[in-house]
Amino acid sequence: MLRSSRVAVISVVAALVTAAVALHRYSTGSGDDVEVAAAALDVSSFFHAPTVAQEADDQTAEEDAGGEALSYGGVTDPDEMLPQWRAIYDHERASRGPEQPIPFNHRFHVSDLGIDCMYCHTGTERSVSGIVPSLEVCMGCHRVAGTGLPPIEELRAMDARGEVVEWEWVYKLPEFVQFSHQAHVRNLECQECHGPVEEMDRVYQWASLTMGWCLDCHRQPPSESDIATDHTLARDAPPPQPPGERQPEGFYPRGINTDYGRTRAPVDCVACHY
């Protein structure tokens, strides 16, 4: 609803980011690859692909409605796509969740079995990372539970061999963003950022992870519980100014108005970018 208009833009931005990562992959070789990279550098082509971005939006909204048959730049086979189209294709796929080496089902574990998030993702409350449980945590139950099911047998075989599961990334932030789970899990439910994980068979990137999406929350006025824990929040400060109504200070807005102490969480650039 409110989100859909933004997601179109977001998808392009995210596609750019993904494309850049893809370029990295294409350019690590030598010789001809350099040419590929040079061709791919023509980023303007991304902006001539509104229909695809729009499709991406629709697909995200419709949630898992397939999409493998979509054409990208007129090509359906991913291996034959030009790099920039392939990057968008990859992003699309990722937006509905990558295939994992073990088809772990969050819906079953959370909704049906009622396991708390932090039972497996222990340590997230004190780490920058969202902790992916160790194989030992899996085996805590699966030494007994699920015996005979093929994925569980595979898991047990890995345990016997002393191997770890190499999961595919679902949520990946650019390197210039410093995110800390520790700072967020105190006052937020996991679902506020990760979506209804308890309803997901295969986890996908629910949120856009764009800066605007982050700031939507950071810009909110603080709640009573926020003020109770964060002493940098001003109790009697006026509410934050809506974007667009800010007045530049002095002849030049050298200080970016960060609404210090008036928002729920810092909206200062350096809160996340350093």
Binding site: L16, V34, V128, S129, I131, E175, Y260, V270, A271, Y274
Partner: protein, 1048 residues
């Protein structure tokens, strides 16, 4: 496409550029190939086809948003998959840094007890372990880069026997083969094991192993203190190295040792030195330096008596004579009487200076004398040390400031004379097996001693060490061993404390612990039972547990990083090397003191004397393959990536040379070509060349850089102590007519009356401390975008009086903030990336001569910052907590901000600099790795602030004073840097910034910097117009308050 023009065409017009291709060090080509050690960018690599533009595009391709710059040189891409732990360990959480205590036993002149931050299985940062150390020197800190050195030997090597032309010198072999080769070589007999300093359990283990296996153990340190130890013993001081406590002194005289940089225990001595000169506590000990050149230590002196190298002992005796007669006491027994006149003639100085020094010492309440160092260690060094010990005895310093035998044990068994004997035996075929484990004699002994040649006469040569250095490269086998951060070990510290080391990460390469290799040899020979343990970790644990009384105590020691002197002593004898308790007895005695009279030099000879000296960054050469150290400007010359020869302006004028001109320095034993650095702080009959460069092996950053002045030395030892005579060589200096490449990172040592550094006379500082006309803290807070809602205004106070200029902060900053090194070529083009640098200014004094003032310079986080309004994209702005913030992902690289910065503290990424594997493992994940086209600068460790704020929020409170410590602050041995909240009037930084000595650099331009400098204090008067307290504090208060000063 910014920066897309030819990578070599963009250099500035500085002197370093013009003749770069003729660099004396032969630096060209060092950085070729892919393994660039962060010292060149992909686009800068030599390319035979001249296709640098294509490779430039390639760089851009790899540097898309979010693609880590770390992935360039083909390391495993860890970020590709999400890989959890297999088994969770208690206390280890992915993404959380844990701190462990350990020790770097051979990091530099002193063992370095450290706290290491370990995250996700990698050691990311070091800080001093406050229980045992006051600071962490640059050199010790750079051991971290050594751990991830891409040039480390990654697997056992055997010399390639094929003899084919073009075949690589070594071939890789398995560990089984390598260990059996070691075993066989030991079995041959007549074996010698050559190590560096070993103390504690490690020392005891190696001695025991040598005894059991019938191997001769030789522990040799090139910069050992043999002359000091023997000289002190002669003066009745007892065995072992002394410990100096300067904190209570009111007069310090140093007879040449570089005790703030490279001598004995620099961080401990720097802390004591700062305490003795703490003007805020109402004291400031006058410091006189006697020596041929103003070293890092000499530059901190209030007075310089420019005595010839080697004459310091005679001067000390003459001074002792004056003290004795002034106090009406006899000279210590055995000390010959030397008249000030004859001493002055020998030292080439005025007799008046000796008299004045003697009278000052006689009238001082708690004076102390520090003996000569390596620079002046010649024949007669032992007697010179005995003379200074006698002076200390006369001054009553024994038991007050000098504690004989209480220093960290030497841990060596061999002097230079012993090494000469070893070489002779090697040449005579009496040594059939040579195992070199932790020493590099082929580099560190004078070439004329002939160690490298003697190695050819040894049947079996085996190196056990992490690097393919000069010695290892000449060996038949190379067995790579763990770095100290991957090893078990311990080291004895000064005062009888013991530091314990533990492995902190999985070994980076396929290496083994050195002691475990030795143990394997013993086991193969059926002698393993003698050690009662299957591996060294168990042996170490058994030794500590039995001494301290059980497993619990062992775990405690591991947690704390060792045992304090009290604990260790209380646990009784029978320890690794017995009691090292501090003696506090008298120093009186006879011994070789009588020889001191013979130190008189022939003053008439018209010769040029050579001084070779260790630098704080390269030391005996072990720092040379660490790009942090190569790119760390020298404390005096501010030169990087080369050697140089310091000479007095008079000599330079005679030779007709200036900075950067290439001269040949030759002696009877060899010659080196080095560029000139003209320096007023050296005698006019002396030239000085730093040690540590001129490597022919060791790795990409070391090889071919600079020259090794050891080539000029005679392989002669001081007959008294057996120590190598570093001093006493006479040389001929001649101009070659060519330019060398000497990259000097500081444009001028004159601040052109801009009052960048302030100097205050000690009387003013102690007695006439005038209050500020303007409260500097209020002034900063009054900046127009200061946010009243914010409880924090971050600021810093830097005490120039405490700062010695050692540069520990600079290395900390490199380590913490993922700052790349740009290499010799990049530095010559002024592209160094350091966020922090140390200025060295020479302030003229009324007494004549100049006073050096060292000043750390970093982003001033101005309240009204000139960089901010010129940024077209708001990539730099002022945040509500007073930080001047740089947002990398917003920056488009106009560089307007750097042009508008009055402090030149902003650095631009002209390229995406590589961190070749495994150097990328050291990168701090809390900090973005910057890419081409991005401006960067000091952030005041905002990641540490943010982390501390998150923790404080979890506890529902504001940050406490001292909770956030910046990286630079953490390693400073003299506590010169204070960081904190200026809005808190009780915070230490507020208190210091409001103090009478506070001033802002370039305060008159009104940018309201958040960094307040505290004026340097000297016992000399700055010439008029400098350091006037009123002018210093005028600042923005009165319009034009500084205008007069600037126009002088």
């Amino acid at each position: 496409m910014r920066g897309g023009h030819g990578p070599r065409g963009a250099g500035g017009p500085d002197a370093g550029d013009g003749s770069s291709d003729r660099g004396a060090g032969g630096a060209e080509g060092v950085n070729g190939g892919c393994g660039c050690n962060g010292s060149c960018s992909s686009a800068e690599r030599p390319d035979a086809n001249g296709t640098s533009r294509r490779s430039f595009l390639k760089v851009l391709g790899t540097s898309g948003a979010g693609a880590a710059a770390v992935a360039a040189c083909g390391p495993p891409d860890f970020a590709d998959k999400l890989i959890p732990l297999l088994v969770e360990e208690e206390g280890i959480t992915p993404g959380v840094s844990e701190t462990y205590a350990t020790v770097l036993p051979n990091a530099g002149p002193e063992p370095a007890p450290v706290h290491a931050q370990v995250r996700d299985g990698r050691v990311l940062g070091l800080s001093p372990n406050g229980r045992f150390a006051s600071g962490l020197s640059s050199l010790s800190h750079s051991a971290l880069q050594d751990l991830y050195d891409p040039d480390r030997v990654s697997t056992p090597l055997r010399r390639n026997a094929s003899g084919e032309a073009g075949a690589p010198p070594f071939e890789e072999v398995g560990w089984e083969e390598a260990t059996s080769a070691l075993t066989d070589a030991v079995r041959v007999g007549n074996a010698a094991l050559l190590t560096g300093r070993v103390t504690g359990t490690t020392g005891a283990f190696i001695s025991e192993w040598s005894r059991v296996m019938g191997v001769e153990h030789i522990a040799y340190e090139p910069f050992s203190n043999d002359a000091l130890v023997t000289g002190m013993a002669d003066a009745g001081g007892g065995p072992g190295a002394p410990r100096f406590d300067l904190s209570g002194a009111d007069k310090i005289v140093c007879f040449g040792a570089d005790f703030l940089g490279t001598w004995l225990a620099p961080t401990e001595l720097a802390a004591g030195f700062a305490a003795a000169r703490d003007v805020d506590a109402g004291r400031h000990a006058k410091f006189t330096f006697v020596g041929p050149r103003m070293s890092l230590t000499g530059a901190n002196a209030d007075e310089w008596i420019e005595a010839r190298a080697g004459s310091e002992g005679v001067v000390a005796l003459a001074v002792a004579g004056i003290v004795a007669s002034a106090r009406g006491v006899p000279l210590p027994a055995g000390a010959p009487a030397v008249s000030p006149e004859s001493a002055a003639e020998s030292a080439g100085i005025e007799a008046g200076a000796i008299r004045a020094l003697g009278e000052e010492l006689a009238s001082a309440g708690a004076p102390v004398a520090i003996p000569p160092g390596l620079e002046s260690q010649g024949a007669g060094a032992r007697a010179a040390h005995a003379a200074v010990a006698a002076l200390n005895e006369l001054l009553g310093a024994g038991g007050r400031a000098v504690f004989p035998g209480a220093g960290a044990p030497e841990g060596t068994t061999a002097t230079f004379a012993d090494m000469l004997a070893l070489i002779e035996r090697m040449n005579g075929g009496q040594v059939r097996t040579l195992i070199v484990a932790g020493s590099n004699p082929a580099y560190a002994l004078p070439a004329a001693a002939g160690f490298a040649g003697a190695m050819a006469n040894v049947a079996h040569t085996i190196a056990i060490g992490p690097h393919l250095d000069e010695t290892a490269a000449a060996c038949e086998w190379v067995l790579p061993c763990h770095h100290a951060l991957e090893s078990w070990g311990d080291a004895e510290l000064a005062g009888g404390a013991m530091a314990l080391g533990q492995p902190l990460m999985h070994p980076v390469f396929d290496t083994r612990q050195r002691e475990d290799l030795l143990l394997a040899v013993a086991n193969a020979a059926g002698q393993g039972d003698a050690f009662g343990a299957a591996d060294y970790a168990t042996a170490l644990k058994n030794s500590w547990s039995s001494r301290l009384g059980g497993e619990e105590a062992w775990l405690d020691a591991l947690r704390l990083g060792g045992a304090t002197a009290e604990t260790w002593r209380a646990s009784g004898g029978g320890g690794p090397s017995g009691g090292t308790g501090g003696g506090s007895g008298g120093l009186a005695g006879g011994g070789s003191l009588a020889d001191a009279g013979s130190l008189m030099q022939d003053a008439s000879a018209d010769t040029t004397r050579l001084v070779v000296y260790p630098t704080a960054h390269l030391y005996d050469g072990r720092g040379a393959n660490r790009s942090w150290m190569q790119e760390h400007p020298d404390a005096i010359t501010k030169a990087v990536w080369n050697s140089w020869v310091e000479m007095h302006p008079d000599m330079a004028a005679t030779l007709g040379v200036e900075n950067g001109d290439l001269v040949e320095v030759s002696s009877d034993h060899g010659a080196v070509e080095v560029p000139v650095f003209v320096y007023r702080g050296i005698r006019s009959d002396t030239v000085a060349i730093p040690l540590g460069q001129g490597h022919t092996a060791y790795g990409r950053s070391a090889e071919g850089i600079g020259a090794n002045p050891l080539d000029l030395l005679a392989p002669e030892a001081d007959p008294g102590s057996g120590a190598l005579a570093y001093a006493g060589t006479t040389v001929t200096v001649s101009a070659t007519g060519e330019r060398g490449r000497l990259t000097i990172t500081q444009g001028s040592t004159d601040d052109h009356d801009r009052e960048i550094v302030h100097m205050l006379h000690v009387d003013e500082a102690l007695h006439d401390a005038a209050a500020h006309e303007v409260d500097l803290v209020e002034m900063v807070e009054a900046a127009w975008d200061s946010d009243p809602n914010s409880p924090y205004r971050w600021g810093m106070a830097i005490d120039l009086n405490a700062c010695t200029g050692c540069g520990a902060c600079v290395t900390s900053c490199y380590s913490e903030n993922n700052i790349p090194t740009v290499g010799a070529d990049g530095a010559a083009m002024r592209r160094e990336m350091s966020w922090m640098r140390i200025h060295r200014f020479e302030e003229e004094t009324e007494e004549g001569g100049f006073q050096t003032v060292q000043q750390p310079m970093l982003c001033q986080h101005c309240g009204d910052a000139p960089c901010e309004p010129v940024c077209p994209v708001y990539a730099t702005y002022h945040n509500s907590e007073g930080l001047n913030v740089q947002v990398y992902n917003r920056c488009v690289g106009t560089r307007y901000c750097a042009n508008n910065c009055p402090y030149k503290v902003r650095r631009f990424n002209w390229f995406t600099y590589d961190f070749p594997y495994p150097l990328n493992l050291q990168l701090n994940p809390d900090i973005t790795v910057r890419e081409v086209g991005v401006m960067e600068k000091c952030t005041m460790c905002v990641h540490r602030i943010n982390k501390a704020k998150i923790d404080a929020k979890d506890e529902g409170r504001l940050l406490r004073d001292g909770e956030v410590v910046t990286a630079c602050q953490s390693s400073c041995p003299s506590n010169a840097i204070t960081f904190g909240n200026l809005k808190d009037p009780q915070s230490e930084v507020s208190r210091k910034a409001k103090g009478a000595r506070g001033y802002h650099v370039l305060g008159e331009i009104g940018v309201r910097p958040a960094i307040t400098y505290l004026e340097d204090v000297s016992h000399r008067h700055p010439v008029a117009g400098h350091g006037d307290a009123a002018a210093g504090h005028g600042e923005e208060a009165a319009a034009g308050g500084h205008g007069g000063g600037a126009g002088d």
